[in-house]
């Protein structure tokens, strides 16, 4: 199970890096969504996987239980990540409306040099 999860993390990470290297802003965003989930998976995995055991202590007093801290961390990260991703989506759309392109190479409005424009 841990090996499977590690492989999944590896595959998702490489896919998201490939997406983020794209010049297309939309592809970059997809990469960003993926990579933030990869980070969550990593936390989940390194916290140690415990199958079929409750978090903390049960009434029966079983010896095995899952560590709940990584889950709390992942939950926080998911909430924060959700907010950031939705903001970024809106920002990308507004930027597309303003500049008329999703190709980051053409997004140069902020870095034009005024002294070169006017001879």
């Amino acid at each position: 199970m841990e090996i499977l999860l590690s492989l999944l993390v590896g595959v998702l990470m490489s896919v998201s890096v490939w997406l983020m290297l794209s010049r297309n802003l939309v592809k970059f965003l997809f990469g960003l969504v993926l990579i933030s989930n990869v980070a969550n998976l990593i936390i989940f995995k390194v916290g140690g996987l415990t199958r079929g055991a409750p978090a903390l202590i049960t009434d029966a007093g079983s010896e095995v239980y899952a560590n709940s801290l990584p889950q709390a961390l992942v939950l926080t990260a998911i909430v924060i990540g959700f907010g950031l991703v939705s903001f970024t989506l809106v920002l990308a759309f507004k930027a597309y409306q303003a500049t008329g392109t999703v190709d980051v190479d053409d997004m140069t409005a902020a870095e034009q040099r005024h002294d070169q424009e006017k001879p």
Partner: protein, 553 residues
């Protein structure tokens, strides 16, 4: 239970909320913000006084003892930086009242500004790595909102780059935190300081260290990850640029300092050397970047990058002396950057543009204001007896101590080169005659509108008291630091000492554990995997229960 730490975070938060819901008038919102910042300044002064006299103060949130709960802690470094942040917050809030347009205020400008301050202070005060990540997010999302507020095309374009790279750094930070948790089984900084040296595979610890270096390096605009800063900072209203330039990158440096002293204690030559090399390159590229630009805001943005280089050198040299120099440089850097950008804002108002070719004749019109700029610029370069001189002198002194000849040569060379872009601003904007001699059109102060791109006539918006008061106040503080540096240097050295020998820090957070383990000499007592941590404490608790039961019987 000391409520001071939580009050320092809550004050800007409540100010943020209060300024939004209590009123809809722009002036009242500004007034609430300024009042909140004044209160924050007061709290920060008390905090600095208490920490300077009584050592670190800590506070366990929700009554959960560290390392189980979240710790807030103010040691000397945090207290100093909270103080400086409060000063910047006050001056920026006052400055914003004269600079920010009504529709931006209606969009919640002061809310986001104060939330940003809350995030910065939270990041300075937290003693837990995951909590640091959360404060970084609070800071980040507020900065995003400030970036796009009232967004025109240029602003949105800059925002895309800023947001994209900062989100990548956030993911890296989260990954690094996750991996460190997997290795050490805790995220409390003081607890990590005890446990990280006990981790079996130190190679993995180094890998995590490098991840932290990259994540915080992006936030701090360290070479080669600084390109987002000059791409976005000049698109913003000058008030926002001032607070970003002063605080945002420095929080990254603060996190680097914290991480590579307390979280990863002991020798890490590889990372120290990397920091040193990155510092040198960042410094040189910052100053060369500043030379190539002709927009005052972009020149100053590159100077922000340059000053990051100086702090990294202090961090990379790795002794208490060098760390003290870096901390002094940080205090100087935060204040001088806020001051310079505010002065640039007044220049823009007086001439309707930030482009050097469209500026000129300011010395004839406003000799007093010109002196203010000259003082700030000379301080940035490092001319004695201004504050920048002491900052650079301390770095050189640390370099001498380490026999780092190359570092000293670079620091002196870069300081000399810093002259060129600043003297260019001076000669172009102040000495050169005004390029539009005939058509002077006065306008009422109408907030921030896109400055002088189309018209060929001079648009003057006379700056108000809201602009002059913070600029004069900050100039006064800079002069005071310059003429009486002894106290600040002593405090910086104290802060550095606290970072290098964190005994007081550890004892404040973990009184029981430190006594029991006596700094982690007993390897066996430390659980190897996180899952084993809980039974230990659970067993302790049940023992306690049994004991109390027996006592009752």
């Amino acid at each position: 239970m000391n409520g001071l730490l939580i009050a320092c975070i809550l004050t800007p938060m409540l100010t943020a909320v209060g300024s939004f819901i209590l009123t809809s008038s722009a002036k009242a919102r500004g007034a609430i913000s300024v009042a909140g910042s004044l209160l924050l300044l007061l709290l920060a002064t008390v905090l600095l006084y208490q920490v300077a006299n009584g050592g670190p103060i800590s506070n366990q949130m929700g009554g959960w003892q560290a390392p189980m709960g979240i710790t807030l802690i103010a040691d000397m470094l945090s207290a100093m930086l909270v103080m400086v942040t409060a000063i910047v917050s006050l001056s920026v809030n006052v400055y914003a009242m004269g600079d920010i347009s009504k529709d931006r205020v209606a969009g919640g400008f002061f809310t986001f500004l104060n939330m940003l301050i809350a995030g910065v202070i939270g990041a300075f005060l937290t003693g837990d790595l995951f909590n640091l990540y959360v404060w970084f997010e609070v800071m980040l999302i507020s900065s995003f909102a400030l970036l796009v507020l009232g967004g025109n095309k240029v602003q949105l374009d800059g925002a895309v780059k800023y947001v994209a790279i900062n989100l990548v750094s956030t993911v890296l930070l989260l990954t690094a935190i996750g991996l460190l948790y997997g290795l050490a089984g805790t995220l409390n900084m003081a607890d990590l300081s005890v446990r990280v040296p006990l981790v079996e595979s130190q190679a993995l610890v180094s890998v995590v260290g490098v991840l932290f270096l990259v994540a915080f390096g992006i936030k701090a605009a360290v070479f080669p990850l600084y390109f987002w800063l000059p791409a976005s900072y000049h698109t913003l209203p000058i008030t926002v640029t001032a607070v970003f330039a002063a605080l945002m990158t420095k929080v990254g440096i603060y996190a680097l300092m914290r991480t590579f002293t307390i979280v990863f204690p002991g020798e890490h030559t590889m990372i120290d050397n990397t920091l040193l090399c990155l510092g040198l390159v960042t410094m040189v590229l910052g100053v060369f970047g500043a030379m190539t630009h002709s927009d005052v805001r972009r020149i100053l943005a590159f100077h922000v990058i340059g000053s990051i280089g100086f702090m990294l050198i202090g961090l990379g040299l790795g002794s208490a002396l060098a760390m003290g120099a870096a901390i002094f440089y940080m205090v100087h850097g935060i204040l001088i950057k806020a001051l310079l950008f505010m002065i640039a804002g007044i220049m823009g108002k007086l001439r309707g543009s930030f482009e050097l070719s469209r500026l000129g004749g300011l010395y004839q019109d406003r000799p007093g204001f010109s002196m203010l700029f000259l003082l700030a610029a000379l301080s940035l370069i490092g001319i004695p007896p201004l504050s920048g001189f002491w900052a650079k002198l301390l770095i050189i002194e640390a370099g001498l101590h380490h026999d780092a000849t190359l570092v000293i040569i670079f620091v002196i060379l870069v300081s000399l080169l810093t002259f060129i872009p600043l003297i260019r601003i001076w000669s172009e904007a102040f000495w050169k005659p005004c390029p539009f001699a005939s058509t002077v059109r006065e306008e009422k102060p109408s907030g921030d509108k896109p400055l002088g791109d189309k018209e060929d006539e001079l648009t003057v918006i006379p700056p108000t008291m809201f602009a002059w008061v913070p600029v004069l106040g900050l100039s006064l503080i800079m002069l005071l630091i310059g003429f009486l540096p002894g106290k600040i240097i002593a405090l910086s050295d104290m802060a550095a000492e606290g970072l290098m020998k964190p005994a007081a820090y550890l004892e404040t957070v973990l009184p029981e554990q430190v006594n029991k383990h006596s700094f982690g000499t007993s390897v066996e007592q430390v659980a190897e995997s996180p899952a084993e941590l809980l039974p230990e404490s659970a067993a302790k608790q049940s023992n306690k229960l049994n004991n109390s039961n027996e006592e009752q019987k």
